[in-house]
Symmetry: C2
């Protein structure tokens, strides 16, 4: 088993090594929609022209999401692999306030500077950049396709909705565009996470459901705390209620991440993990466990999650739900402003501790942290909500292994707003580098993507011909 | 002649008297696209429900432009006249920073407060308001059609482009959506103004072309100045170069306005004027005139332009191009930021003094006034530029008498982005109250509008049925 896994990793690495790009910077206004502040700053983008037909080849444009853009470039193999066939230029644009696209350098995330972090501003950055890539001409020559996964998939779809004149279509992978208040049940995400574990082994989800009380129990005495710290191999001890909250948050997030990246191959996308990570961790929880045995099982899960690459001597749970490769510090602010995605659990339909969705408490917490109250209807109003059939040329792909599918578009909405549902696929697997372990459905999905892209490009070229004639 | 004109005015007044509405206010965020400033303020809107089918009747929504909204409500008779047939609710929304929709009351236009005046923010205000009118539900029930004329027409089209999920279609009358740098020749507007006068009488435009030098000549001596002040009946004398510039600006603007509102009936839209105002004023310039005779002719034109309703004892030329009913003080700022519309004249193809388009000088002037530099590509990037075929369900109507037609869409771009060209019609005549003097083509245009609106509403209802089924 291990041998196979390592083979895959080697193969993967060599593929990744082929992704070459130039790193460039592009100047954008701090505020695209008003003029009270007229500063500018640079966003980063990665570009590869190797296969590009400079005459009229397409531009494949990744709408960067919450993290350093190199991570998405590395893991969006689909764009790299089809570039030659389409003679496309590849561009990965970094989202403002992430990676090194910081308007105020190290002070960017401070209360007094963070307010220009929004999806609308990021999309306007991308539109500006594409205008530059088109040569700032009135009649753009190159068809541009937006790609993105997760929040990046939402951005790809939103980019097409808001800038149909800039991008001719969007491949929006695992984009939970319905995960807004009133649009999806708050419990769906945790229910689907649970389902991933339950599908592997019903004892697995049962044990996890039991584990919360066991962990809490261990924190009640100094001796118990020591066992807990040791069994979970924590870098710093759980000393108080705040530490315990953080540990619980870390663990919940761990299970969610495991479900999201439950890929058929080893991957270091969010953190370094073996192939089929849910199956791998569940082998330690496949019989009814209690007390210290259960704690030890959880300890094994945590060990695989944090130390599969043998680089971490202990578990830095204090990173909470920020744990992993994604440097997404700004996301918390986005979730506190426009990206309000209600989450809840009840411990019955899911394996988590009961936690109702309490918008008021959530809003107050946001106000305490950032001095802002969330605008829960904003994203729905700006980006289409339940009326996405009003848009065109968008593919919403969702893998049924992915808990975010609970907020995804699973039925086609029109002839040109299409849903592609992929069984056996986790979070935007269709955008990942192809792999011998890929299930058949994801290969089919990628072919469907290519058909749509071809159609959009042909459509654009026909329009261009018509315009030239007239 | 006069008798007929007065009859029309009486008829018109009685129609206008029928436009009843409630005046309401709606709270919007100062900044829709970021969170650095979290103030709110009220925009005004006018609403009439008399004909509305509250079950599923449409909402006819006027995207208010640069001025107090009551003026547009009064002169957009088309919406009022078709409301009963469509069982529609009528809403006129006021644009932020105009009328009484001021974020910072009387200080709104100050340098330190004006920066949130932009079309994007205004459109987001409208989207918020419509969400409220829909009852803040996830699945909106009422089909909403956007209407607008001139900049309001641009906003109606842009609203459909940016918020296709909010408005199902847009009637964009006389919307110069191509009047941006690099998209239309800078001289086209003044050439078309000239053409209006030339068509009536070639001597009319010739005399106006000669008049500039004559006026300048009169300012060279105190005696000449006195003749000028008296002949043009100026409220305050032209004492220096600045005054002269202002007078010239006032006169240029006067000719443009006369061409724009060259309606077949008397109207007090921008200022109180007789029917066929260009024909009326040209009767004083219909033979070759020179010197004081020419000045007297211009004096007659000015008198008709400023005092047709006998309310102004003298000519307040110091209002420059702000003269008239439209309280559009904020427009100058919009023209200095996003709405950069190059204008030039050469005195050959047009009847104005030669004035090249000099973006650098323009930009510096803007910076001096407001501390901002224009963003000349912004509107093109945000609102589609030359790629409006990427949108859908928009009617661009243009009257061939209207100089703004030079920046309009005169050819249909797709099956659903349609051009309607109306001969014999001035600035958004198709949206004006119907009138016995209306030329046949404008009646046809209004019927085409109604057909499109019907189609859009049916489309929306079909989509609603499909969604309900699924």
């Amino acid at each position: 088993m291990k041998q196979i896994i390592f083979c895959v990793i080697v193969a993967l690495s060599s593929v990744i090594a082929e992704y070459k790009y130039e790193t460039k910077y592009f100047k954008v206004p701090l505020d695209h929609f008003g003029f009270q502040r007229n500063e500018t700053f640079n966003i980063k983008y990665l570009v590869n022209d190797d296969n590009w037909d400079r005459g009229n080849g397409p531009i494949f444009f990744y709408t960067g999401n919450e993290g350093q853009i190199e991570l998405f470039a590395k893991h969006t193999g689909f764009m790299w692999e089809i570039a030659a066939e389409f003679r496309a230029k590849i561009v990965f644009a970094e989202h403002r306030y992430y990676g090194s696209s910081m308007p105020f350098d190290k002070k960017s995330l401070d209360k007094e500077h963070i307010g220009y972090l929004s999806s609308a501003q990021a999309l306007a950055d991308y539109a500006d950049l594409i205008n530059f890539l088109q040569g700032n001409v009135v009649k753009p020559r190159y068809p541009v396709i937006a790609f993105g996964g997760s929040y990046g998939g939402m951005l790809a779809a939103y980019f097409r909705i808001k800038y149909p004149h800039v991008v001719i279509g969007a491949i929006a992978a695992s984009a939970p565009v319905h995960m807004y208040p009133g649009m999806a049940p708050c419990g769906v995400f945790n229910r689907l996470v649970t389902s991933s574990f339950k599908t592997v082994d019903i004892n697995c989800s049962k044990n996890i459901r039991q584990s919360w009380a066991v962990i809490r129990n261990y924190t009640k005495t100094p001796a118990g705390q020591e066992v807990l710290n040791k069994t979970l191999n924590l870098c710093s001890p759980v000393k108080n209620a705040t530490d315990l909250d953080t540990l619980m948050e870390f663990l919940e997030s761990m299970y969610s991440t495991l479900a999201m990246v439950n890929y058929p191959f080893a991957s270091d996308f969010l953190t370094s993990l073996p192939a089929e990570p849910v199956r791998v961790v569940c082998q330690y929880l496949n019989e009814t466990l209690t007390g210290e045995k259960l704690l030890k099982g959880i300890g094994k899960v945590v060990d695989i999650f944090t130390n599969y690459d043998k680089k971490n001597p202990c578990v830095n749970y204090k990173e909470g739900d920020d744990y992993g490769n994604l440097d997404a510090a700004g996301w918390d602010y986005q979730a506190c402003t426009e990206m309000v995605m209600p989450m809840c659990s009840n411990g019955v339909n899911d394996m988590f501790e009961p936690q109702p969705w309490n918008f008021t408490a959530y809003a107050e917490e946001c106000h305490k942290k950032y001095g802002v109250y969330p605008r829960p209807d904003m994203a729905r109003l700006e980006y289409g909500g339940n009326r996405l059939q009003a848009a065109s040329n968008i593919v919403f792909s969702n893998g049924l292994r992915d808990p975010w599918t609970g907020g995804g578009i699973l039925d086609s909405l029109s002839d040109t707003v299409r849903a592609v549902v992929i069984v056996d696929a986790a979070h935007h697997l269709d955008l990942m580098p192809s792999n011998p372990s890929d299930p058949e459905p994801v290969k089919i999905a990628r072919n469907i993507h290519k058909q749509h892209i071809t159609r959009w490009i042909n459509q654009f070229r026909e329009q261009l011909m018509t315009t030239r004639k007239s």
